[in-house]
Amino acid sequence: MFYREAGDFKTSYVDDGQTFPIKFDRMRYYVVLAVAFGVVPFVINDYWASAVFVPFLIYAIAAIGLNILTGYCGQVSLGTGGFMAVGAYACYKLMTGFPDINIVFHVLGAGFVTAGVGVLFGLPSLRIKGFYLAVATLAAQFFLVWLFNKVPWFYNYSASGQINAPERTVFNVPVTGPNTDAWAKYMMCLVFLVVLAWVARNLTRGTIGRSWMAIRDMDIAAEIIGVNPLKAKLTAFAVSSFFVGIAGALFFSVYLGAVEVGEAFGINKSFLILFMIIIGGLGSIFGSLAGAAFLVLLPVLLKNLLVGTLGWPTDLAAHLELMIVGGLIIVFLIAEPHGLAQLWRIAKEKLRLWPFPH
């Protein structure tokens, strides 16, 4: 009834090509943004920031990054954890090396460093694809973690090999370090997510995005119609790694504050983010957000429910949590192999017809 194209007249090409062609969708998008920027920062507390929102926002950035590479360009990557580590360590070196420069530029710089590293490890993708490429990126994962453990320069020769984020401010408000307010952490990550998601959405609608999708759907055909595979694949690796690097930098500096590479950026992280985009939906920005929300929020929710409300023993709850999350993943993938984004798409199709489906 409300959710329909009819009656919403487009009079220019700009209107015709907008991201949300349906008025209701547009309004919903602005309401979500208004709540995220105008309401949440005023009610958020430390627990909500550190346990729910900040990890969700950061994982969403990483998931969008991986989705660009895997979902849009079709290059399977298992190196996400390693690339996040590059972002984190680049951010640390920049923060400690140039303490007078604003942290925002350090995070962006960490993204560019990671993009460079990503391109380097993307080179094999020009010759190999599919499972073979997955193995090559797996090598990147292990190599990068080993590197940051092995070379003391990366952790400024500290005794324990840990990196710690010193306090840095944006507009005189601390955003890293222990004195950061919950809302500052949240806003820092939210701004990055909104800007990056907007960039990603528009990249994937334009020439670059279309060349990525052409490569994904059939690389030989794409080459014949004039898509340069070298350029398409390497830009996908660069953009994807840029996103993942920023996620890693925020993960270290804003979220955790102290990081140990093997524990924080191990192979588990690569799998976690891959699961996020598979559950959320490959080739969809909304899917990345939904997948990140699913895998970040569900364990916290289950824990609060089982231990906090029902008072079960913590170990039983932890085991059950694994079983429930795992079971739900399987159920979701059987019921809807294209992920949460596809469920959302179907819901929208149904809504268009509602309440007169015939």
Binding site: A159, G257, L297, D315, A318
Partner: protein, 426 residues
């Protein structure tokens, strides 16, 4: 989806928040994952002691103690979540039993004014109370442990390790890397050759490391391991027939569950310990007041084991610090800031330990404003596979303060400079 989940989580979290005037001691435990074998007995001991204090003495100074357990799985992200979830409940002290989580929490607890006690783990230089106001690592730290192990080997070799080779087999994490700096200094001082071999998390696969040890034939292997890594290492040592009496674990690599999987082959394996074990009178009380009343933490099977005893010791030190805080401030309802003062004024004497039913469980030590590290002493114990017991080989051994103190000062000064901390206690 996102919103629904958030709303649901909000509801669950709100329902979870109880209000109480008890003294709150969060227990950031791990009963799942590759480190659960160590986490379970420690947490059982920790919780049982508070249950005992409540049941036998009616709480601490008349106020009941309340333990909030939160599962971290030895994972830093979950550790942060647990910290944020429990700190609003009036938490008096955190003991995360994880060096990784400790590094996360050091700046946070300092900002929030809650004390952090890392009993023989965590950041070694936190022993310097001038820089680390809210972090305590008494009675001993990693560098003490490394030094005690070397001192023990010195005494075995008539005071000289010249020309010997010692291999450090370590967990490739902040925890395992801590002793390297001290061992390097000690190798310069005593003339032994140090090689280091890393084992990656979780440590289930160590074939290549032990092949290297077999090839290099070091005189001694010192191990900084935790969790499943320990039992695998001991099994692999047995497989290459490395003489067990030349294999020394630190105090986190010397529990029953580390040696029993290797069976007879583990006989003679040595480990450090910062607390004595044995049949302490307090266990009878725990049995009577806690287990027989059906309030045992976990399945109640761990009483008296190495890590159970250590968890209980950790709880005991917290209770004693809380009592000290109550005396200093003259109120039974202490806050986290008062608890910190109590920890800083803590005195553990033999008479006090005797009265608590734990004679000689730890060394005597005093904490003061500048020294948060205790006395730094540890014993060496040996596994007797036929009797299934750990036998203490030594009394409390001193560590080499001459080497460790400058290292502590150097590392804490670096931390102070990085974080603009002014020295206290002047």
């Amino acid at each position: 989806m996102k919103k629904t989940l958030a709303t649901l989580a909000l509801g669950a979290a709100m329902a979870a928040g109880p209000a109480a005037a008890d003294l709150v001691f969060p227990d950031l435990s791990y009963r799942t994952g590759p480190y659960a074998a160590g986490g379970i007995p420690f947490s059982d001991g920790y919780q049982d002691y508070f249950a005992l204090v409540n049941a036998r003495d009616g709480g601490i100074g008349g106020v009941p103690a309340k333990v909030i357990e939160c599962e971290t799985g030895y994972n830093t992200e979950k550790g942060v979540e647990c910290y944020e979830a429990t700190k609003g409940e009036g938490a008096l002290i955190y003991q995360p039993l994880s060096t990784g989580i400790t590094y996360q929490l050091i700046p946070k607890v300092t900002a929030d004014g809650i004390p952090l006690h890392t009993l023989g783990y965590g950041r070694t230089s936190a022993a310097n109370g001038k820089v680390f106001s809210n972090v305590f690592n008494y009675p001993a730290n990693y560098w003490d442990g490394a030094s005690v192990a070397i001192n023990y080997l010195l005494s075995e070799n008539g005071g000289s390790l010249d020309g010997k080779t010692i291999t450090l087999l370590y967990h490739n994490s902040a925890y395992g890397k801590e002793p390297i700096r001290t061992l390097e200094e000690l190798s310069k001082k005593h003339g032994f050759t140090l090689t280091t071999i890393a084992v990656d998390h979780p440590g289930q696969e160590q074939k290549s490391q032990w092949l290297q040890i077999r090839r290099e034939r070091p005189d001694y292997v010192v191990m900084w391991g935790w969790g499943v890594m320990n039992q695998v290492a001991i099994q692999e040592a047995a497989n290459i027939r490395f003489p067990m009496e030349n294999f020394i674990g630190n105090w986190w690599a010397g529990a029953e569950h580390d040696v029993t999987p290797a069976g007879e082959a583990a006989n003679g394996y040595k480990a450090l310990n910062m607390n004595r074990i044995g049949d302490l009178p307090v266990f009878a009380d725990i049995k009577q007041y806690v287990h027989d009343a059906g309030n045992a933490a976990g399945d109640g099977s761990n009483v008296g084991s190495v890590l159970y005893t250590r968890g209980m010791y950790a709880a005991m030190l917290a209770v004693e610090a809380a009592k000290t805080a109550q005396e200093i401030h003259g109120t039974p309802d202490i806050t986290a800031a008062m608890m910190r003062d109590g920890m800083e004024a803590l005195e553990m004497t033999d008479a006090k330990m005797e009265a608590l039913g734990v004679p000689g469980i730890g060394p005597e030590f005093n904490v003061d404003c500048a020294n948060h590290g205790g006395s730094g002493m540890a014993i060496v114990q040996q596994w007797d596979a036929s009797a299934q017991t750990w036998t203490p080989l030594t009394d409390y051994l001193e560590s080499d303060a001459e080497v460790i103190d400058p290292l502590v000062l150097e590392d804490s000064a670096a931390f102070a400079a990085e974080n603009n901390i002014a020295e206290r206690c002047n």
